[in-house]
Every structure is written in C-alpha cells, then in structure tokens.
C-alpha cells in the first residue's frame, strides 16, 4: 500500500513538473513576450527597443533557465551589475538582503499586469469566491444526482426509470453555456416576465453571495454534472439490484425499502464516488464558463481575463492551481477507490 502511494505521488509530481513546463513554454512564446514588452514599455517602441527591454528584464535567457528561475530552482533574474534579483526586489530593502532564489516554490508567484498586484494574493481572493460557488454546486449536485440515480436504478425499466433517465440524458447533453442562457432567458429576462432571480452575479465579489444572485450560476453548473453522475449511479444501482444477495434478501421477506437502503445502497455508491471525484476537473471547466456568463468574479473569470490580456504571470498562476486541483483529485479518487472497495487491495 505504501509503495503504491509512493509511486502515485511520484507520478503526480512528475506530471506536475511536465505540465508546468508546457504551460510555461506556451505562455512565454516570443510573440507573447513581444506583446508584453509593448504593453509595459509603450506600444510604439521599435523592434530593437523590444529586444533591449526583453534583455533587461531577463526574458532573453534560455527558456529552461527562465523556467527554473520562475519555479525557484535557479537564481532569480538580476540586471547586470546588481545583486538584486528582479522579482523579489520590492520585498527586500537592501540589495544584500534580497533572496537569490525567488520563484513559486519560495512563494513568489509574480505580479499581475492586469490587476496590478501580487498574483498569489489575487488568486487567493478569487479562489475563495470560486470555492464558495463550488461548495454550493456540490451541495446541490451530489445529493440530487445520487437520489435520481438510485431512484432510477432501483427498478430498471419502470416508468420512474424512463423519466429520470431521459432527464439525465437531456441535462448531460446541455453544456453550461446553453443551460445558462436558457435559464437566464426564462427566469431573469423580460421575455417571460418572471425575473425571479438575477441574471448576473457581478455583485457577489463586493457584497457577498445572496440567494438571488447564486441560484442561476449554481443550477447551471450542477445540472450538467448531475446528468453524468446520475447515469453512473443508475448503472451501478441497476447492477447491484440484479445480484444474488439482493434476491436472497427479497426472498427472506425483507421489505423493498430496506433492501434498497440497507443492502444495495452502500455497494451501489462505490463507483459513483470515483466519478464524483473526477468531476472536479469538469467542474473547473463549468466554472470558467459560468463565471464568464454570469460575470462572477472568481477563479475562472480571472483566468479568462488573464488570457485575454496576455498577463503571463497570472496565467501561469491560474494554470498551476488548475493542474494541482486536477492531479490531487486524481490521486484522491485512486486512493478512495482502493479504500472503499475491499476487492481491490493493492499488494
């Protein structure tokens, strides 16, 4: 078990290393850097001045060196003739005090050019907002998806099953940008005149979440993920219900209610558990779409803003967060699957 864990952790670390390298490569292409130079030093500068600016700010070094110093494994960039490393210059008062290594491993995530601030602080604030959204999504999505799946899989082929299965096929065929648009049009526009909820969540960042603003974003994300989890649960539940021990329990005279609740449910929930864990990366996509659609100023919205404005440091920061979230959930779902299912014990 320990060896299995160690192997998984090593693979995750290697993946994280490769992924950040790829992201670094793709965000630090020469056209990106040229654009950065022009936005920082003035749009009308000549090609020679661009080259000089890049040289002065350490962007002319070899790519791997830049990557290592961004990561904090190589000394940070210091302009020639000075000891002061560029990135952490503001933190230290004296040249001699400035740390030589100054990358994300040392906690320095760089500076955002769009929001004019420290990337780590910005991401912290944004992630808290997104975390809030995700929490509500999970609270709505998981119980309702499990309920729908269990009810549908309980009696395969019944009217309840057909209805609920159709419902989950429809929701999983409706991407967030479609359901979001439809929900806004129905519940927040002048077309139907309902206007029950707010069609934008832009105020959440300043005023905090309210029922009015959160209903539509949460429903939109939850609906898409729900269809998939519900279908998995249904398949798992239907399979369990055909097992011998369920038949035995029924023949012994246990009521249907008790068979479902006490005998079937636990075994049927093993498979959906992994699926739910693996939904996190999917939710991340949903979050980006929904935050853009509803103007909810969280992590996804920040990612879109950063990408649109060529904000290299912020983009890198967002990518690191996204990649870490995905890898950690993969690891957790692997572990959870092993722990939950006694039949799969790794020797």
């Amino acid at each position: 078990m320990l060896l299995f864990l160690l192997r998984r952790v090593l693979i995750v670390l290697l993946s994280a290393f490769c992924l950040t390298l790829i992201v670094f490569l793709l965000t630090n292409l020469s056209p990106n850097l040229e654009k950065l130079a022009k936005s920082e030093a003035g749009t009308r500068i000549t090609d020679r001045e661009v080259a000089v600016w890049l040289e002065q700010h350490g962007h002319a070094r070899p790519l791997l060196v830049r990557y290592a110093s961004w990561l904090g494994l190589a000394p940070a960039w210091a302009p020639p003739g000075r000891h002061l490393p560029g990135q952490c210059a503001a933190a230290a008062e004296d040249d001699a005090d400035a740390p030589r290594y100054c990358g994300i491993l040392q906690g320095n995530w760089g500076t955002s050019t769009v929001f004019r601030g420290d990337v780590a602080t910005i991401l912290g604030v944004r992630l808290a907002l997104t975390g809030n959204l995700m929490l509500w999504v999970m609270l709505v999505m998981v119980p309702s998806a499990l309920l729908v799946g269990v009810l549908a899989g309980m009696r395969e082929g019944s009217v309840t099953d057909r209805t609920l299965s159709s419902f989950s096929i429809v929701t999983s065929a409706t991407p967030e940008y479609v359901s979001g648009v439809i929900l806004i049009a129905v519940f927040a526009s002048s077309m139907t005149g309902l206007k029950w909820f707010s069609g934008t969540a832009g105020s959440v960042a300043d005023k905090g979440p309210s029922f009015d603003t959160m209903v539509l974003p949460v429903t939109t994300i939850a609906l898409y993920g729900m269809g998939y989890v519900a279908r998995m649960t249904r398949a798992s539940m239907a399979e369990v219900m055909t097992q011998q021990y369920i038949r035995t329990a029924r023949l012994k005279g246990v009521s249907f209610r008790n068979v479902v609740l006490k005998h079937a449910l636990r075994n049927a929930l093993i498979a959906p558990f992994t699926v739910i864990m693996l939904q996190f990366p999917w939710l991340l996509n949903g979050v980006v779409i929904v935050e853009t659609l509803f103007n909810y100023k969280g992590f996804g919205w920040t990612l879109v803003e950063a990408a649109g404005a060529n904000d290299i440091d912020l983009m890198l920061g967002c990518s690191v967060v996204a990649v870490v979230v995905v890898l950690v959930t993969q690891l957790l779902s692997d572990l959870g699957y092993v722990l939950l299912n006694p039949r799969i014990r790794v020797h």
Partner: protein, 391 residues
Amino acid sequence: MDPLGTGAIILTILGRFWPVWIGIAAIFALSFRFKRRLGLYGRLFDSPVAMAGLALVLFWAFTAIFTDAIATYGTLEQVSQMKNKPPGTPTPDGTGWFLLGGDHLARDVFSRMVAGSRIVIIIAPFSTAVAFMVGITLGLPAGYYGGRLDTFLSFAANLILAFPVILLFYLLVTPEIADTGLPQYLALVLFLFPILFLSVFVNARYRVTPGVRNWALLAIGVFCGYVYISLVSEPGTAIAILPAALDAISVPTNILIVFVSVVFVNSPTVFRIVRGLTLDIKTRDYVAAAKTRGEGLWYIMLWEILPNARGPLIVDFCLRVGYTTILLGTLGFFGLGLSPESPDWGSTINSGRRLLTIVPFPAIVPAVALMSLVLGLNLLADGLREESLKD
C-alpha cells in the same frame, strides 16, 4: 405586412425545412424497407430512442447540406430597422419576415442558426474521425505490447487529460500561437496518423498478395498524401509547401487551429478506450489462434482485435461527436479561433448573451440548436449501445 403570430412562425419555419423533411423521410423509408439486411444500423429501427436520436442527427445533417435552400437571408446580410426585432417581424421593404427576429447587428437569427449547422456538421465528425485514427494507431500497440511503450504513451495521454480543456484552448488557440506556426506543426503530426493508419491497415491485410498491396498503397500514398499536404500547407504561413494554384483544399489558419486543438483534446481519451479494449481482447482465443497461424503483429491488432472492439468504439464515436460539438461551442463562446462574424452556434451565443435579458432570441435559438444536436447524438449512442449489447 403584418407581424406573424406564434403559430404562423412555427408553420413557416417547418415549411422552410422542406428539403430536410423529404431527406429524413426518404432515409427512414429506405431503412425500414431493408431493415433486416442492414446489420447493426438496421436494428436501430427497433428502438424508439435510437430512432429519435437518428432523426435529430439527420435533421441537422440535411440542414447543413441544404442550408442555401432553407436560409431566408445571408449570414452577414444586414437589413436596416431590423435590429433586435422580435420573431416574426416583417422587413421594411415587405419582401419577407425575420422568422426568429433580428440580432444586435440587424441580421436574421433564423438564417444564421441554419448556416451555423454547416460548420459544426463539417468539423465535428471529421475531427473526431482523425482523433479516432490517432487514438487507435497509438492505443492498439500500447495495449498489445505493453511495457515501456505503454508506460510512456499512457503518461503522455494522462498529461493532456490533466489539463482543464478550457485552459488548453486558451493556451493553444491564440493569435500569438498562430504566429509561431505551432498549430500547423501539430497538424503536420496529427494528420499523418490517418495516412499511417490506412497504409498499415491495407498492408497488414494484403501483405501476401503484393500485386494488390502495391497498387493500394500507391493509391493511398498519392491521394492521401496530396490531401495531407494540401490541408496543412497554406500560402503565406509558416508551412507553405504547395503554391496557391495547387492548393486545392484551403483551410483558413483559424479553422485549422480549432480543428487541431479539438483533435488534440479528444485523442488521449480515445487512446485510453482503445488501450483498455485491446488489453481485454488480446487474451481471447482467436488472437491466440492468429498468433499460432503466424500472422503479423499489425494484422492481429488491426484485423483481429480492432473489428472485435467495434461495438464500444462506434458508441463512443457518437458520444464523442456530441462532445466535440460542445467543445466547438465552447471555443465560439469564448471567441477563440473562429471569427466573431462566423455564424457558428458558439459565436452567436457569445454575441447574443450581452443583451440576453432584453433580447433573448439571438442567443436562445443557437443554444437550443446545439442542444438538440448533442441530444440526438447521445440518444443515438444510447440506442446503439442497447442494440449492440443484444448480440
């Protein structure tokens, strides 16, 4: 002219789609007639769910084919005074109606939705097919040989899968990346796989009859090679092998990026599915029999294992075309790759969402269109799965 009422709008729209109805009716009639001779496809007509799915998919396929007959106005045609008008408003010159209203640039929402189907119906199945070729060509040996090859390929596939799709799109589909020519190089690699796949496929089968083999390989080489070079090369960009006169298939760079990135996102999943199926099937007796007969490795993989994995692969193909449709919509929604004027559904949703609470139709119409196509593909996949399990 008077504005049309709801009933009149629906009737007029149904009427506009007349070539589609004829097409669907013809296909359904023919399929019912020869149902018993059509194998798995014929058995779809036993299941109402599958038929509903097929009807939806055919609806959009025929709409894409007959776009010019169905659309009432041009995709970029602006009619003055029709800005943000509700459905059924007659045009000022009295020649017709904007059946589903006008958008913020006074263009006909209905015609743009119809024209948008063409982009999806062309890109989604083709890019999925290329992704399948990539996934199959790499997944079969990974599953069959195992060992280091498998470890390496699986690691690479998991790396790509660990990227949230939208992040990957934001990294790959930007003007800066287009400047470096990276998408074209990626296309250079990815489009090589269909040729590779076809040649190995034919070679493995006709290895013992060199006469047939050589001609078939030559034909594949010349035809696919030309299509390949013509697809990848584009005058005035990083890769310009062919002069403009010989470049029969001209794919604009932005469409190529969209195509390539969608293939790139889909192939690792296909790879994983094919690898898993191969691991399962390679233990079967008929594979052992082929080995004993002394068949080549690629023959076993492509002519023994692959045909026996077709059921799950066909089902996944349907689902994946649906998923690709969603991805294309996502790209359009974020304004990546496709031009803002393009009538594709994602871009129209994106431009319509700004006025969503006041003028909902320009965004809702393409949204419902996209949803119905994906729903059709999912239903079709469900039907296929049920029917193929009945064997």
